[in-house]
Each structure stands twice: as C-alpha cells, then as structure tokens.
C-alpha cells in the first residue's frame, strides 16, 4: 500500500447528501473528512427550493440536524397550487392533497444559507471523530490501486485514501463518471432548471399571497407558456424573496433550440404573475442546474468497490409531473450510505458498505420512489411516437375536450394521486397539450397587466461575476453540427450574444466558410448542460474558483 493520507471515510461534497452522510458517519464514530470545492458549502449549489421530510423516510434532514428548520430554511409550504395555462386563460387546481401525501413537512430553502449552516454542523460533528470539513478542495477523481478504488485524487491536495468514499458531488459528479457509473450521453435523462431569486420584503410577500409570516406557498405552472417545450415552472415563497424558475426536459430544449432564459422570462412576464411580482421586480440572482431524471438516470447499484454515490450524483432526483423531490432523497441516501458503512465496519468488513447501501435503498423504499415500477410499465409505453400522437389527438378532439370538461373534478383528483402522477410519461401530452386544453376549456382569463422587465442576459451574467481561473471545459469539436446546440441550450449563452459561454461564428478559412462554435468559460455557471448537448471535456473548476452563488 502506497503511503497516502488515510481517513476512514472521505465525503466529497457538502450539500444535503454529503452532510447527511458525514453527520451519520460521525455519529457512528467514523473518522470522516469532508471535501467541498466551493469557497463555502452552498456556493456551488442551486435547487428549485423545496426540501421535504417524508413520513415514510428512515431519515430526514431535521432528524439528523436538529434546529434545521429554525436555522436554515425560509418558509414552510402551507398552500400548493398548479396552474394550467393556455394563453391568457388559466385554470388553477389546489394540489394540497398530493403535496401532503407522505409529507411530514416541506420548507422552501435557499441553498447558500442552508448548506453553509449544514456545513458548520458537519464540521463540528466530524471534527469530534478526528476529521473535519475542508472547503476549496476540488476532488478530481478516484484513487485506484491495482484497479480497485481506494480513495480520491484532488487538485489542491495529495491523494487521500479511505475505507469508504461517499460521492455526494452533485449532478455533474466527476467521481461517478470516473467510476463509469454515470455519463452525460442522453439528453432525455436530464432536466435543466433555471431560476431567478427576486427580492421582496416579508410584509409584501404576506400581503400579496395573503399569508402569515410563518406560512408559505408553492405554485407550479404548466401549459403553453413555453413554446411547446416540455416542462413547467414554479414559484416558491422565501422569507424575503421569491424563487421563480422553470424546469424543462433537456432533450426538448435541445430539439426546439429553446433559450432557457427566454423561457424563464416567459413565465416572469405572464399576466398571472402580476399579482405577485407587482411593479418593481428586482432580481437578486440568476442560476441554473441540471436535474437528473431518476426514472431513467437513478443508479440501481450506486456503488463500486469502496465508492458509494448519493444524491444528484447518483441520479436520485424524483421529478414526476408536479412532484419534484431531490434533497430529501439525497439526505436519506447519504444517511443510509453512512449506516451501511457502520454496519459493514461492525461486521469487520468495511468494504462491503456499497452492497449494504444498495440493499438499504431498496429495503427502505427509496429506489421505488425514484424508479417507480408503474412508470416503467405504463410511462415508457406512452413515450413511443405513435401512441403519444394518438393520445394528443384524442385530447385535442372534440370528444377528448368534452372529456376534460366533464371530468374537471377527476382531473384535480388525478393531479392529487401520487400513483397516477408517477406514471406520467415524458411527452408533450401531460406537460403541454393536456394543461393547455385544461386551461382553454376550464380556465378563466387573467386580465392583470404584468410590468415585470426581466434583466438582459448580460446583466444577469454581470451580477454573477467571479474568477473562473483556468478554463475548465474544453470544446473538443467546435463545429456547429457537434456543439451548436450549446449556444441556445446553455443558460448563459444565446444566439447573437457575444458575452456568453458559447457563441456561433462563421469563420473564413482557406476560401471556404465554416460554421463554428467558440467557448469562453468565464460566465460558466457549471450547470453541465453543454457536457450533454455539446462535444466537450467537462470538469469542475479548481477549488474556490468559478461561480459563487449568494442565494442558490
């Protein structure tokens, strides 16, 4: 054995999954080193903004971190609505029942605040068992000996060996990719979310949403808001801001050559939003991230040798229609991975932790939530071309429409059924066609005038100014055919915009003209979109470098 620095456990990433793993490892007396590449935990992290505690889950974030809700969250979600939009007409359903199903509580969060609070607790806990949390360390890959994973390699430190490596390094996990467990090949395994955090004082929020200061709302949006791109929008109330965002299937964004920032603007400027956003819209932060579609991407065996993978890194992000849950599953998975290591260690065979972890994910029902069997039977069938087409046609035909009108109560019930929702296939029908039809047939016209003027992309990027260091993404094939989609799909790039990451260029070479793409990683928000839609060598920037979210 080469003489590397050794810890019993190394946890990579201090988001909720990493924090839960580290806390539970420390609680079991395991010497645990936590490595985080941001200047502060949370500075790299973005989420839509709701964290759930499920009644059926073996671990919840407040169970692992007492006072979590008092110290690290924004508002509890007390009201839930989904808005089906067709032009100016909107039909709103109360989906409180769906939301409350299996939910002990759900709070809105901003990740910088939440994760940095968690990180302080994690450091205290892990320090007691001989480890600690180190920020600004970029873990670049896996340390192998004789082909076996035995630790991690870092950009800033010498390699570190461990009996267990917990990869909680997020959706673009370099460890899961190094282990060959994840790739960036298929756009249809991913969603892309973009979000704006808008400043609003607490009294104004209470007044506009008609809630008390210990209440909050979650609104979802679907329908034809988004030029036929499959996905939807959300609005959550924070303590003194609103999180407003859109989440789309990445394959749909790519196919439609949609500009994510314009889709977000489409939501921000819809008349429906006027009642909440008012006259003076002030955007604090623009952010973006990839979201794995657990139905397709969740790893059924998220481990390899001594490596276990948790959270987004393992594709553990449940996004099924209006159910969007990621952080709670990351917490459960992280804590179960720790438990698995404690079990394995007490049996004298710490290297079997991965196997136990997989078993626990199944036993505790996590895997069935992430990859529901009802989806694999019904949902996928719905994605095959002709059937989707027929269903679309039925919904748009007179009969289909009559059906919708007659079935208003049924539709609301359907939205509130976790079972039916988990079967939703990833086609236009549930995301665009059906909500549009519902909006048209059942909706009422919104007459409010929206005065919001969203910032231009260059101002959004300007507010995210940071030091990216050396370029961390290399464009392997700069032809427009191979990588041109990034110009539109990248949330900080746009056609005819020279200040973004990706720009398309007509270049004269030796008498003929080539359509090329150029890349400047300066404005990169590290979402990973281009890793999927363009031909790149994609890595994270060095520790402490790159985007630093203040809200997240």
């Amino acid at each position: 054995m080469t003489d590397h620095e050794h810890y019993e456990a190394v946890v990579v990433g201090c988001g909720p999954g990493g924090a839960a793993a580290a806390a539970n490892l420390a609680r079991n007396g395991v010497e645990t080193l936590v490595l985080e590449r941001g200047v502060d935990a949370g500075s790299k992290n973005v989420s839509g903004g709701l964290i759930y505690a499920e009644e059926s889950a073996p671990y919840t974030i407040d169970g692992l971190f007492p006072e979590f809700r008092e110290e690290a969250t924004e508002r509890p979600v007390t009201e839930n609505y989904i808005h089906n939009v067709a032009g100016d007409t909107v039909k709103t359903f109360d989906i409180g029942d769906l939301h409350h199903h299996d939910t002990a509580w759900a709070d809105s969060v901003l990740r910088r605040r939440m994760d940095s609070w968690l990180a302080d607790r994690v450091h205290e806990l892990t320090h007691e068992t001989g480890g600690g949390l180190l920020t600004e360390v970029h873990v670049t890959g896996l340390l192998r000996e004789k082909g076996e994973i035995v630790g991690v390699t870092c950009e800033e430190l010498d390699p570190i060996a461990a009996d267990i490596v917990v990869a909680a390094d997020g959706v673009n996990s370099e460890l899961a990719r190094d282990a060959g467990l994840m790739d960036w090949e298929d756009p249809d395994e991913w969603f892309q979310g973009v979000k704006a955090v808008a400043e609003m004082d607490p009294d104004t929020i209470d007044e506009r949403f008609d809630i008390d200061d210990d209440e909050g709302e979650a609104h979802l949006f679907s329908g034809d808001l988004f030029d036929g791109v499959r996905g939807g929008g959300f609005l959550y109330t924070n303590e003194a801001s609103l999180s407003i965002g859109t989440v789309f299937h990445l394959d749909s964004i790519a196919e439609e050559r949609a500009e994510p920032q314009e889709l977000l603007d489409g939501l921000l400027t819809h008349p429906l939003m006027a009642q909440w956003l008012g006259e003076d819209y002030h955007e604090l932060e623009y952010s973006a991230k990839l979201v794995p579609d657990s139905k397709k991407a969740a790893l059924t065996a998220p481990h390899e040798d001594r490596l276990v993978v948790v959270g987004d890194a393992a594709g553990q992000m449940q996004a099924q229609g209006p159910i969007i849950k990621g952080m709670n599953h990351a917490v459960t998975a992280g804590a179960l991975a720790a438990e698995a290591f404690a079990d394995a260690r007490s049996r004298g065979d710490p290297h079997r932790a991965g196997e136990f972890y997989e078993q626990k994910l199944h036993d505790e029902g996590v895997m069935d939530k992430l990859r529901p069997t009802s989806y694999s039977v019904v949902g996928k069938l719905g994605e095959i071309g002709p059937i989707d087409g027929v269903a679309n046609a039925v919904a748009e035909s007179a009969v289909g429409r009559f059906g919708v009108r007659a079935a208003e109560g049924l539709v609301e019930r359907a939205y509130n059924s976790p079972m039916l929702v988990s079967m939703i296939p990833d086609t236009k029908l549930p995301y665009v066609t059906l909500p549009t039809v519902i909006g048209e047939e059942l909706g009422e016209v919104v007459t409010d005038e929206n005065h919001v003027q969203p910032p231009e992309l260059d101002d959004r990027i300007g507010d995210l100014t940071y030091d990216v260091g050396d370029p961390h993404i290399e464009l392997v094939d700069n032809s427009f055919e191979a990588s041109g989609t990034a110009v539109t799909a990248c949330p900080v790039s746009a056609t005819d915009f020279g200040g973004g990451c990706y720009r398309d260029e007509m270049v004269q070479t030796n008498g003929h003209e080539e359509h090329l793409v150029s890349l400047d990683t300066q404005p990169c928000v590290e979402c990973g979109t281009c890793a999927v839609v363009a031909d790149t060598e994609w890595e994270h920037p060095a520790g402490g470098k790159g985007v630093e979210f203040e809200q997240g």
């Binding site: 079991n28 990027i461 270049v507 793409v517 890349l519 300066q522």
Partner: protein, 551 residues
C-alpha cells in the same frame, strides 16, 4: 437479560455497540428481544451477523502449543502467532513448522513475531544506545554511506540567521525582502532575549549579485555575502548548491580549501537558514540543507524562536527524560490547505547535530518592511572556483512569464471586440493602423475575441493573445483616450476601461451597453469607421471627426 436491549436503539447506534458483545448466548437473547419487539429486518441481520462471527471465533480458538500446523494455511498461522506474546511458545511453533511443512513464508511470519516480542522486552525503560545506521544494518548498502557529511559533526558552534535572497530579472524578489524583514525582527528579539550579537546574513548568488547588496542591506542584513559570476546568470541547482554550501562552511570545521580562516565568520555553520519557497528556492533549500546534514521545514508561513521541552528519547538520549532545548526555531507550516498547522522543530540528537535549522518560506507570508537605505552592513564578495562539471546542465533557452504586453502606460488604447467577426484579420489590421497613427498607443482586445474561434492570418495572429485582454480578467487601463470598436460593453469589460478620460465607442448597435459609459458613440461598422478615424488622426482632426459623428 443482555446488557444491550436492541429495541431501545436505532440501527445506526447499535452497529458500533454490538461489536463489543462477544458472548453468543447474549446475542441470541438480543435477537429474541428484537423479534418480540419491533422486529426490524436490518437489526436482525446485524445481530445474526455478529452471532455468526462470534461463534466462528469461539470455534476458531487455537492453542498454539498443540495445534497441528500442517492443517493450517500460512495466513492462519500468521493470525495465530499475532496473538502470542511468549517467545518460547513461538520458538516451539517455529520448530514444529520446520519439522513439518517448512514453508518459508510461515517461518518468516513466526520469526518476525519472535523478533517483535523480544525486541520490545529489551528496549523497555532502558537508555537508547546509539548505533550508527551503518553498523546497525551492515547488510544494507546504506545510501548514507555515500553521503560525506552524515554524522560529520557533533556539538559544533552555530551562529546567525542566513537568508538566501533570490533575484529574478535583475530584481530582488519580494519574498527575499519579506524574509529579510522577518529575520531582522527575529534576530533583534533573539539578541535581546539571549544577550547575544548574532547577525542577519544575506546571501546573494548570480551574475549581477553585487547589484542587490544595497537593497539587502536596506531590508535588514548585517552582513551580505555574495558570489558573482557570469555563468550564474540562470539558476542551476548544482553550482548554486555548491556555492551556498561552501559559504555556509567557511571559517568552520569543514571549510573548503582556502576558506578555513575568514574574517567574517568563525563558526561551523549557520544557526538558522531561510529560503524562499519559490520554484528555485525549494530546489536549492532541499539540496543545501541536505549537504549541510540537517533537515528542512518546507513551505512555512510562520517563524518564531523559543525554547522547547522535548521528551523524544532519540533527542534527549534517555527514555522518559525531558529536556529543554533553547533557541529553537519554530517553523509553522500549513497542512491540508491550512486546515491544520504543524510546527516543525529541528533539534540536535546526542550523537548528531541538526543544524542549520532550516525553513523555506511561502511568498507573501510576511510583510515587506520599509527599506532603510541609511543602514550599514559588512559586505563580503565570496570567491571560489566554479568547476566546469557543475555546469553540465546547459540553459539553451528560457522564457520569462511576465505580464507580457503592458497596456497601462499608453496615452491611447484602441480595443476591438467581436464586431471584427465578419473579417477578423482585417479588423485587427485596421485597429493596428489606428494605433500607429497615434504617437503613444497600443492595441487592446475584448475577451470575446481572445476566446473566439476566429482564424487570423499569421501576420496579425501574434497580436491576439490574452496579454492584450482588457477587463476584469485582463488588464485595467486608464488612458487619455480609449477607443472601443465592436465591443458591446459587458460589465466585465467596463471594469477594464472605465477610468479612461475619454471613451469613444464604435458600434453598429447604438443601444449596446457600452453607450452607458462612453463619452462618444459612433454608430457604424468598424470596418468603415476605423479607417476614417485613422485618417482624421493623421490629419490632426480626431476631435472634430468624433464630435461630428457622435449621434
């Protein structure tokens, strides 16, 4: 009733606890309790697993005096002997193995165990007797045999703090000044604390070493020793190491020929040596400290001198003794990106001196002191023969990584952006023409151009480098006139030119952001506008041209 009732615990708490239970019966009781209680499957698995393990251990309890070795694998034997502390029993096992299967690896395992059992008995509580490594391990072709100075000195005299002052491109680098300032403070305090008169000695080596004597003095040296030779223009570690080592030994027990008596040094070697933790400094520090038969604390960020109470028997001579060492340089260095600090001490052994106490210092760790050019210091030009073979490594080429192009001093900066995209080569040419029309001007570029995939013809390609970038991640310029052609004016670019007296923008889009911070905006294609500006400048009519076309 077992000591632990599993139903009272979460599985995570139970895991570590259960490993303390070695009694299979007790475990069976625990299992029954769990089955009668919550009946959690993972908990049961945990207990069952433990039972299996404990029972296996019970069965596996071997008596080394009677067991049949031929039935056992080498690994079994290794595991068994690990638990035996009686050397006689082990010898008996060894004997039986030799008579039996006579497996080499098994014999080695048993012999090792005998060694470690007996070794520990011999050493306990006794004086550590010094045996030089060459005698202790005669069978080894010990690498220290080749090293001339190992065990060279015991109880010699050491004085002064030596600072290796690195120069780069004809300048004393900042870290050299920082080290001299720190050394000055440390030695002033040292002389006061110990009522001594020890000096800060600056060491300079290079082709222009004498040029830096004055600076070294001003920043705190009492004595400057320099070696100047044309062959020393570039750092090469062999000659530099030879020179610094030779200087350190001058006047001492191991002085080289001709340096036995020098009037500026009458001790063996320096008490303390400090090097910069730069590329060259790291290289040199390790080699010099090695040659001087001492250690090195590399990459330090803090230094102080203090006594230290030491109990390590290797240092104090007797196990169990404590001994106070005086005048110890405490060298703090960050581990794990500053997560923790180690303080390194370099302390003599009873049979071997560990001096100089040496450190390399991370640049920026200490303040640069204000220079005092009235200070005086003794100056010694060191003379020694430099052997040809030290220069076998030849520096054929070198590149100086500097700021490259410095745009900050120009009266005028002409910058172009992605507006040149239609014909990038011509765009750069036109901008260069305008640059030439001014007396003191240079070319700047937006980041968008530098990161583009434009194909430039070779004659302008040399201009398209990051060194010319204006903006947040490039240079910040404050010229009298800043001409921004085809630059939209992102906030990152604005940072780089905002302080210019007059900003003239040329853009096809009159609403581009650059308008917000320009004094004049000329709406138009830079391919047409730039030649006309060039013409106007040549005629001395720039102001008129710009004012006429500002919309």
């Amino acid at each position: 009733m077992p000591a632990i009732d599993p139903t009272e615990y979460e599985i995570a708490e139970l895991g570590p606890k259960i490993t303390d239970v070695d009694d299979a019966d007790e475990l069976h009781e625990m299992l029954e309790l769990e089955e009668a209680g919550e009946d959690r499957a993972p908990v049961k698995t945990l207990i069952e697993d433990r039972i299996e393990k404990v029972e296996a251990e019970d069965d596996g309890e071997l008596d080394p005096e009677t067991v049949d070795l031929t039935e056992m694998t080498v690994a079994d034997i290794a595991n068994m002997v690990r638990g035996v502390d009686d050397a006689d029993v082990l010898r008996d096992v060894l004997e039986r193995e030799r008579e039996g299967k006579e497996r080499k690896s098994a014999i080695a395992q048993i012999e090792n165990r005998i060694d470690s059992v007996e070794g520990s008995e011999e050493q306990a509580g006794e004086d550590v007797e010094y045996v030089p490594p060459e005698e202790k391990y005669p069978e080894l072709d010990h690498p220290t045999n080749d090293k001339r100075w190992v065990e060279g000195t015991v109880g010699a005299e050491y004085r002064d703090m030596w600072v290796y002052c690195e120069t780069q491109a004809g300048e004393l680098v900042d870290v050299s000044k920082e080290m001299l300032g720190k050394a000055r403070d440390l030695m002033d305090q040292y002389n006061a604390d110990y009522d001594a008169e020890e000096r800060v000695v600056a060491v300079l080596v290079g082709a222009d070493a004498s040029d830096h004597v004055e600076d070294a003095t001003a920043y705190g040296a009492d004595l400057v020793v320099y070696m100047e030779d044309d062959r020393l223009e570039r750092f090469r570690h062999t000659p530099y190491t030879e020179i610094v080592t030779d200087m350190s030994r001058a006047g001492g027990e191991l002085a080289s020929e001709g340096h036995a008596d020098v009037d500026w040094k009458d001790y063996h070697e320096p008490r303390y040596t400090i090097f910069p933790a730069t590329n060259n400094g790291r290289d040199l520090s390790a080699l010099v400290q090695g040659a001087l038969d001492s250690g090195l604390a590399s990459d330090c960020s803090g230094l102080y001198i203090e006594e230290a109470m030491i109990s390590n028997p290797a240092k104090v001579g007797n196990a169990g003794d404590n001994k106070e060492f005086e005048r110890v340089l405490h060298m703090k260095r960050p581990d794990f990106s500053g997560f923790e600090y180690s303080t390194i001490l370099c302390i003599d052994k009873p049979n071997r001196d560990f001096h100089p106490q040496g450190a390399s210092v991370i640049p920026g760790s200490f303040e640069i002191p204000d220079p005092d050019y009235d200070r005086e210091a003794a100056v010694v030009e060191y003379e020694m023969d430099l052997e040809e073979e030290w220069f076998e490594v030849e520096v054929t080429e070198f590149d100086r990584l500097s700021g490259g192009v410095d745009l900050t001093g120009n009266d005028v900066v002409v910058a172009v952006g992605r507006g040149i995209g239609d014909d990038p080569t011509t765009g750069i040419e036109l901008a260069l023409d305008l640059v030439d029309a001014f007396e003191d001007a240079d070319l700047g570029l937006s980041r968008g151009v530098i990161t583009s995939s434009y194909a430039f013809d070779s004659h302008v390609e040399q201009y398209v480098t990051e060194a010319r970038q204006i903006g947040e991640s490039g240079q910040v310029v404050e010229p009298d006139i800043y001409i921004a052609a085809g630059i939209s004016g992102a906030i990152q670019h604005k940072v780089g030119c905002d302080e210019a007296d007059t900003i003239i923008a040329v853009n096809t889009d009159p609403e581009a952001d650059i308008r917000d911070f320009s004094d004049y905006v000329i709406e138009g294609d830079l391919f047409e506008v730039l030649p006309r500006l060039t013409e106007a400048v040549e005629k001395g009519e720039l102001a008129a041209a710009v004012e006429a076309s500002d919309d």
